[in-house]
């Protein structure tokens, strides 16, 4: 508790002798309008009252002196024994500060900052409590407005970012879809044209058909991705669980790359088998996507290593490439829909593959992570599939 001398200054009081001591202090306290300053007995009875208390709480001194201070609290807090526990804390620690709703005489609530100080006798036992209360309702309201404004601004930024992501996706998707369509139109029209002019030889026919095949396969992949993402968004992507040997799935996938003349760079390191509960075709899809990325982002003859390892309760499927690698930010963003790293913006594809893979792995109760390779340049993708899916 502050003494009057501290408040007004020794020098000032020396020239104003009639303002010394108790009287000066009482006048000072009484004149304070912005703070409710009053004393409580150890039982919680109001002993003194000042103008600030009257202004903030609405009671005159006549009305409140002698009453128990629990009338300042909300019914819930009274019920919970909060008023007396506050005095207990002040007795224990000497001083206790609290913020919360308090009740005025007219029943209205205000947001209060309260400091309770225990006044102790020479033996250290409290003989009264000094309570200083400030009305912070307006400040709290303005803080709430600030918080609301901030939240609003954040929400707007997020919505704008979502719009930008959508625009980016539309632009990438339309480029990706329309290029093979242009190719189909041109190739077929050109074959027809050459045939009509009578110059269609075997080589020309083969080349034209091969391009039509490539373009239609590409379109097939893109449309499947778009369907997957649509079904994932709607929460209806079907997963058919069964006993699945990951090694057999990986062998199939790698064989398929070999058939497309892209198998010579892929190495498989695996035990004879590694069985988990999974949807074999979805695991195939995830691994195909990871290997496809690894090949796309690293130049031949760099090898792509696929490893399958049993770990406690799960199987780890790892794909290592020797590509540009990934920084930490990209490693977390790349699994978001349309979350491609800026460095790969122009690599073919819609940037949905990793997002779809992550969602599929999550549906299996597993995880997928990406990191910089530890043994030199390149990236590492690890899919962990638990032995059993627990819903």
């Amino acid at each position: 508790m502050t003494t009057p001398n501290d408040m007004a200054g020794e020098g000032f009081l020396a020239h104003e002798p009639h303002l010394r001591g108790e009287v000066a202090f009482r006048l000072l306290v009484d004149a304070v309008q912005d703070y409710a300053i009053f004393l409580l007995s150890t039982e919680g009875t109001v002993l003194t009252w000042n103008r600030g208390a009257e202004r903030i709480k609405g009671y005159s001194a006549d009305e409140i002196v002698g009453q128990h201070f629990s009338v300042f609290y909300t019914p819930d807090e009274r019920e919970a024994g909060r008023p007396m526990s506050l005095l207990g804390s002040a007795a224990e620690h000497g001083r206790f500060e609290d913020e919360g709703w308090r009740v005025r005489k007219d029943g209205s609530w205000f947001w209060a900052d309260v400091i309770v100080t225990a006044l102790r006798d020479e033996a250290g036992a409290p003989y009264a409590y000094a309570k200083i209360t400030r009305d912070l309702t307006e400040r709290r309201a303005s803080e709430e407005r600030q918080a609301e404004l901030l939240a609003e601004r954040r929400a707007r930024a997020a919505a704008e970012e979502a719009l930008r992501a959508r625009d980016r996706f539309l632009s990438i998707a339309s480029h990706e879809l329309k290029t093979p369509i242009a190719n189909l139109r041109l190739s077929s029209a050109s074959l027809l044209h050459v045939r009509e002019s009578g110059h269609l030889d075997e080589g020309r026919l083969r080349a034209g058909l091969a391009r039509i095949q490539t373009a239609s396969e590409r379109l097939g992949v893109l449309v499947a991705e778009l369907l997957d993402i649509t079904r994932l968004t709607a929460g209806v992507l079907p997963i058919h669980l069964g006993r699945t040997d990951i090694v057999a799935v990986a062998t199939d996938v790698i064989e398929r790359f070999a058939e497309a003349d892209m198998g010579s760079r892929i190495r498989l390191h695996a035990p004879p088998q590694a069985v988990v509960e999974a949807d074999a075709s979805r695991v195939d899809q995830v691994l195909t996507n990871l290997i496809d990325n690894a090949l796309k982002f690293s130049e031949p003859p760099a090898e792509v290593d696929v490893s399958i390892v049993e770990v406690p309760g799960a199987v780890d499927l790892t794909v290592n490439d020797r590509g540009m690698g990934i920084d930490d930010i990209t490693a977390t963003r790349m699994f978001e829909a349309f979350g491609r790293g800026e460095a790969v913006e122009h690599v073919p594809g819609m940037g949905l593959g990793l997002h779809i893979s992550q969602q599929i792995v999550a549906r299996h109760g597993g995880s997928i992570t990406a990191a910089q390779r530890t043994d030199g340049p390149g990236a590492t993708f690890t899919v962990r599939l638990p032995h059993a899916v627990t819903a």
Partner: protein
């Protein structure tokens, strides 16, 4: 037989690039191809085309970056530019690139041949 025009096709999709080269060659043009802006710039140093078919979204150097670099190459007769794009904003892109014309993907054979003929016949 002299070629009707010298055309550089800059397109990252291999299949579309080869198809474009084929149909343009069929139509009597001398055609070269490049898979991205960098390769196209290299081609320009040894060969001066009358017309460049330019894709916008490409790896390494995209259509915008290529155009910026290409304008720096001294030419007696600068080549015409035919922009190929799937973007809905192709018109503003064409404007920004100062392209002479544009084709929106997916375009048909007749669209390509007509646009090429018009550009080659147009005065500089």
């Amino acid at each position: 037989v002299t070629a009707r025009g010298r055309i550089l096709v800059v397109e990252d999709d291999e299949s579309l690039r080869e198809t474009l080269a084929e149909v343009l060659a069929d139509d009597g043009h001398d055609v070269r191809v490049a898979a991205d802006g960098e390769a196209a710039l290299d081609a320009l140093h040894v060969w001066a085309p009358d017309l460049i078919l330019l894709d916008l979204m490409m790896p390494k150097m995209d259509g915008f970056a290529f155009r910026e670099a290409q304008r720096g190459v001294e030419e007696a007769r600068p080549p015409k530019i035919l922009l190929l794009s799937a973007a809905h904003a192709v018109e503003s892109a064409a404007d920004e690139l100062q392209a002479d014309a544009w084709l929106v993907k997916p375009f048909g054979l007749a669209d390509v041949l007509r646009a090429v003929d018009e550009l080659l016949a147009a005065p500089d």
